[in-house]
Amino acid sequence: MKRLISLYIIILLASNHLNAQTTSFRNLDGNQKDTFRNNLYASSEKINSLECSFIQKQVLSMLSDEVVSKGTMTFKKTERLLWTYTSPYEFVFLMNNGRITTKSEGKTSSFDSGSSPLMKELCKIMVAGLKGDTKSLETSFNTKYLTNGSQIKVVMTPRNKNLGSIFNQIDLLFDAGTFLVSSIEMAEPSGDKTTISINNVKINGTVDDKVFDIH
């Protein structure tokens, strides 16, 4: 009898655990969704500059492998984004007034963002994600808002075929209290998944324009 009770308790706990996992995020709809969306947008409008560090984990499905990269990001109005990788090797990416500049192994190359639609779109997603301006992404993505109480997850699926051939889905995770982004997860059609965890966020600090001078 004791064994049966123990077994019953174990099954009950296990089912509760599973239930908690599947129902941790619930849909935000109607007024709740609009309120969060508007608050997030209002908060993003106040961001003039943003600095953070990040850890990028990339799962390569075919090789059952994980690649970890680290670095920093600096954003300054309007639309200037410096993306610096420090590990596994140094790589600098800068989006500045419609021009993309990369620096790798001391070599710098610069080109118009229009010649690389993928990078342009990726920058748009990163800037919107960092700021919390999900409204600006709604022309390119269908968005769904979910919450678990402390966090809000914005699930975005591409509206057009071109973007859909690169991303299956992009999830932005925000703190429900501060409206700051904590992670950006990109799922690709190849089965790979890249998660960028954002840490040490500093809003509206003094960012010298010289930071964006890459030679």
Binding site: L60, L63, V67, P88, F91, E188, S190
Partner: protein, 185 residues
Amino acid sequence: MIKYLTYISLAFILCSCTARVSPSRADLNPVVAEIMDKPMHFRATITFGGNSVTGLMAVKQRSDLTIFGSFTNEFGVKGFDFIYRDGKTDLVYVMPALNKAMVKKILRRDISAMSVYGIGNIGKLHGNGYDKTPQIFYPDPQLKSRLFKDIYVSGNSSGLKKIIALDDFRYKLRIELISLLPDEE
């Protein structure tokens, strides 16, 4: 009878002395101990004409000697996935910008050459010194029949890093792989 036996013996001797004409199946599926247990990561630069694309290449070998590889850019966006076996490369996934018949044809040829002669010879690079002169892995002077025309594959080391390069002169394409050190990974 003795005459026939002499001819047969002579034929055997001649065959055994003949230089290798074409790579054998075993040559085309090298055992690469360095990527057997876990994937090896490289910083990759692909230069085509005047343009360069950089990213990360991960390669791994399965026990049946098939080599798997993935090329992604720094932001994690996949460029292509490949499977190499028996001198042939299958492109499992190619990003839309590269998904063109001509590009895929060049990629298949160059990845095959890189897999068998570049990655396949990585064990020959000790990676504990500075080799000023790269070792030429392909074309192999022993092979009279060449599988890949206008392709050179070489390797050298810089400190602990192993460097493999493929130059495809026909299409002015260069693939350079520089191994990442464990502390970088």
